[in-house]
């Protein structure tokens, strides 16, 4: 039987580096039942033995209520992990020991990995690992993950002799200990489960009756101590962690090094630096991404689409095949230029630790929109492409924020919509008109953000965010992270793109499109003042937003759009196209991240918003 190990640790302690180093590229991402949090599992082959390694999300505590914390708690108590590899940041040993103490109480075989030994040493901290090993009764490995140092030792321990179960027990307040003992005895629980029950955290092995009796005891304790058991237990663990850390660490005072944070986290020059960074990234991705997208589309047209049409297959197969190629073009045209490039930059920002500083500075502005500092990232990304932007909302701490951010991201003009605005409005009407569309969208987004922050259910929590240490990113892992995103995006979006594209192709083949055109023509003319073919072009924009523009030219039979539509018609066309119904890839990602219901709501909402605003404009133009 293959052994299964799970990597546990605080965020940014180098868990992912260790995981990547040990597993190579053969990684499988699986969603744990009932959550959107992904668990990465990989198979490690070492010395002719195999074992599986699961990278658990980085957390600070096992008793929290966030998705990640629930997932890890559930996985460690009920999951199939045989042993825990607990990764600790040696420089911040005391804080990291808190989670380790909790993990130790689960009583699974465990090995401690003290990572970032180099950082600890340069901070003047010497850690007596044998004393630490003795305290916990389990082996301790010193590693430097960034240099790959000692990582194979982890594999040695995982496949080697059975690891010991940690023996340490933190000293709890005697009321807590008595209560935990009682719960254990009456409900036949483990010590860890009893403590979870007292802390009022949910776990599938804890029945409602257990939770009820635990709650009764908790409120007794709370009355006596004027503090909830959760707080008391937390404080007890911290005290134990502090005692252990003080005992095993020797600190030699170090000279204070120059602190970049004095620049990055101050209002000045921090905020200008932030703005320049964001605009810079946006600009580079915009230019480079646009160029790459064009290259991909033209290469695929020349070498795939054109030769395919030249085959002169039966008209039906020609249409279907063409639709498949079109879907591939749409998917790849987003995946590499935008998703990949953006994630390269975001991974750099993340790995350098700058992202947390950006979030801190942006916190104030984001408040108006019902978001916190972390919400800056999706909003900035959305100017490039809604898809990676929505994927990045998973870093937001609450569902409420994820929903608000997703709605706003869907509304903000991505680069494809910018193509529509610049290609139609700027070139046929003028720059002023093009900017006015941006203006309308920004006002709508702002108003919507203010409204959503009031009506979206869920409590608004403040931001509590650990600042990652500033360090140099490792190119290999930056690229790898971006590549994982691309793969994920293609898995999510490709099927939907293929299906919808093929359906549209078949409709076109069956003449349904022309039927639709003549059917919609009177309605579209009456409501939006647009001819039927323009509305059909809008529908094609759902596949890929630029396609609305391209299809309009194809259906209109000319690239000189001004000759077939008036300025006001073009303006309405562009505005409706920008606002209404996100593209298929976006809808696919929305469904994945916030659920089918919310995705459907957003789609219907944007459809209504787009058309009603278009109708309003049409009405205004008629009056003028």
């Amino acid at each position: 039987m293959m052994r299964r190990a799970a990597l546990l640790g605080n965020p940014s302690v180098g868990k992912s580096l260790i995981f990547n180093h040990l597993t190579g590229l053969g990684v499988e991402v699986s969603n744990y039942p009932g959550t959107t949090v992904g668990l990465m599992t990989g198979i490690v082959r070492y010395n002719e033995t195999e074992f599986s390694l699961t990278d658990l999300p980085g957390i600070y505590s096992l008793s929290g209520k966030s998705d990640e914390e629930q997932l890890v708690r559930e996985y460690l108590i009920t999951g199939d992990a045989d042993l825990i590899v607990a990764v600790l940041d040696a420089k911040h040993l005391e804080r990291n020991l808190y989670l380790l103490l909790q993990a130790a109480e689960i009583r699974k075989p465990l090995v401690i990995v003290l990572n970032m030994m180099d950082d600890a040493r340069s901070a003047g901290k010497i850690i007596d690992t044998s004393a630490l090993s003795q305290k916990f009764g389990v082996p301790v490995i010193e590693t430097i993950a960034t240099e790959g140092k000692n990582l194979e030792k982890i594999a040695d321990y995982v496949i080697g002799a059975e690891l010991p179960v940690p023996a340490i027990v933190p000293r709890y307040d005697h009321h807590i200990e008595a209560a935990a003992k009682n719960l254990q005895k009456f409900h036949n629980l483990s010590a860890a489960e009893a403590l979870f029950a007292l802390e009022n955290v949910s776990l599938s092995t804890l029945s409602p009756e257990v939770m009820e009796s635990a709650a009764a005891i908790s409120s007794e304790i709370e009355k006596r101590h004027m503090m909830s058991p959760e707080q008391i237990i937390g404080a007890n663990r911290h005290n134990t962690a502090k005692a252990i850390s003080d005992e095993v660490t020797t600190i030699t005072p170090q000279k204070k090094r120059r602190d970049l944070d004095s620049l990055l986290t101050r209002g000045f020059p921090g905020i200008p630096i932030l703005i320049i960074t964001m605009i810079g990234i946006l600009g580079v991705v915009f230019l480079l991404g646009g160029f790459l997208e064009e290259a991909i589309i033209s290469v695929m047209t020349t070498y795939l689409l054109d030769p395919f049409h030249a085959l002169n297959l039966a008209p039906f197969w020609d249409t279907v095949g063409g639709a498949v190629i079109l879907a591939l073009m749409s998917g790849l045209g987003i995946a590499f230029p935008y998703v990949f490039l953006f994630y390269i930059f975001i991974s750099i920002l993340e790995d350098t630790g700058y992202l947390t500083r950006a979030a801190f500075l942006a916190d104030r502005g984001m408040h108006h929109l019902g978001l916190h500092g972390q919400g800056l990232i999706p909003l900035v990304l959305s100017f490039g492409c809604s898809v990676p932007a929505i994927m990045s909302t998973r870093f937001l701490p609450t569902r409420r924020e994820r929903v608000i951010a997703s709605v706003l991201v869907t509304m903000l003009p991505c680069s494809a919509r910018t193509v529509v605005i610049s290609g139609i409005v700027a070139s046929f009407i003028g720059f002023g008109a093009a900017f006015s569309i941006y203006g309308i969208v920004f006002i709508l987004v702002f108003v919507l953000g203010c409204v959503l922050s009031r009506i979206t259910p869920g409590e608004q929590y403040g931001m509590i965010l650990e600042m990652a240490h500033l360090r140099r990113p490792i190119p290999k892992y930056v690229v790898k992270k971006a590549w994982m995103r691309v793969r994920e995006f293609l898995y999510i979006a490709m099927p939907l793109l293929l299906i919808s594209s093929v359906f549209l192709g078949i409709f076109e083949y069956l003449g349904l499109v022309t039927m639709f055109e003549s059917f919609i023509d009177p309605i579209s003319t009456a409501v939006l003042g647009l001819p039927g073919f323009a509305f059909t072009a809008l529908m094609f924009g759902i596949l890929r937003k630029e396609m609305a523009f391209e299809t309009l030219a194809v259906l209109g039979g000319t690239t000189d759009l001004a000759s077939i539509l008036s300025s006001s018609q073009l303006y309405i066309f562009a505005l409706v196209c920008v606002l209404f119904v996100p593209c298929i890839s976006t809808i696919a990602v929305l469904m994945k991240e916030i659920g089918v219901k919310a995705a459907a709501l957003i789609t219907v909402f944007t459809l209504l918003l787009g058309t009603s605003l278009g109708a309003l404009l049409h009405f205004v133009f008629m009056l003028v």
Binding site: E230, H238, D261, R266, G373, I464
Partner: protein, 233 residues
């Protein structure tokens, strides 16, 4: 019961302001239980808090200190009940009578500082502490008793984290609306912890250093963390 009654007796003698008080004046404290009253007085005499003479019972020096402590607890609690919780004054006084016996000096001290500094400008101006200045000899007694608890030689006002300036070294005293911020415990922001305020933006968003890690907090989180300035800089 004897313990509470003894404290009530000391307090009552102090409150009359006379050198000696007849036992009969104290009977209402014991609700007609004369035996209990006698027992309590004997007990107080044994402990050296009071002496009995022909004029009645009088407080010794030790008894005066003890009585002042009880009286002060009563005053602080009454003030907290009326000013902060809005309890009706008569009722507050009665409740304070019961609470004063079980509350610790530590808690009373904290409650006192809390009342003194309730928010910037929380107290209406011109209205001092309702229980007046502490007598000089009492300060000494209270602090002696206190020193062992928190290890702070001098009390500093308890203020919100948002009111401190960059670079200050602070002791966490309390976290308000705790349920909303349970992540704070995971990161080690717990009462008693020593933290440094690293950065403060003009909207009161802050970065603090806890256990060697930098943590960014929104203004609404920062204002719910109550801290005490640490003198040992």
């Amino acid at each position: 019961m004897t313990f509470e009654l003894s404290e009530d007796i000391l307090e009552a003698i102090l409150n009359t302001g006379e050198a000696a008080v007849k036992v009969s004046h104290l009977e209402n404290l014991a609700n007609g239980n004369t035996d209990g009253l006698k027992k309590a007085v004997t007990c107080l005499k044994d402990k050296g808090y009071v002496t009995e003479s022909a004029e009645g019972i009088s407080l010794t020096d030790k008894g005066t200190v003890k009585a002042s402590q009880v009286a002060r607890k009563h005053a602080v609690l009454t003030s907290f009940l009326t000013d902060v919780l809005g309890t009706e004054p008569d009722h507050a006084s009665k409740e304070a009578c019961q609470m004063e016996h079980s509350i610790s000096s530590e808690t009373i001290e904290r409650l006192d500082t809390f009342l003194e500094n309730r928010g910037p400008g929380g107290h209406k101006s011109g209205r001092g502490r309702p229980w007046g200045r502490r007598p000089a000899h009492m300060d000494h007694a209270v602090f002696q008793e206190h020193e062992g608890h928190a290890g702070l030689t001098k009390r500093n006002p308890i203020i919100s984290l948002s009111e401190c300036e960059e670079g200050s070294l602070l002791h966490v005293s309390m976290i308000r609306c705790f349920g909303k911020h349970s992540r704070l415990i995971d990161l080690g922001v717990i009462p008693g912890e020593l933290i440094t305020l690293r950065r403060k933006l003009d909207n009161n968003a802050v970065v603090i250093t806890v256990k060697g890690c930098d943590i960014a907090l929104s203004p609404e989180v920062a204002e719910n963390i109550l801290v005490e300035r640490c003198n040992t800089q």
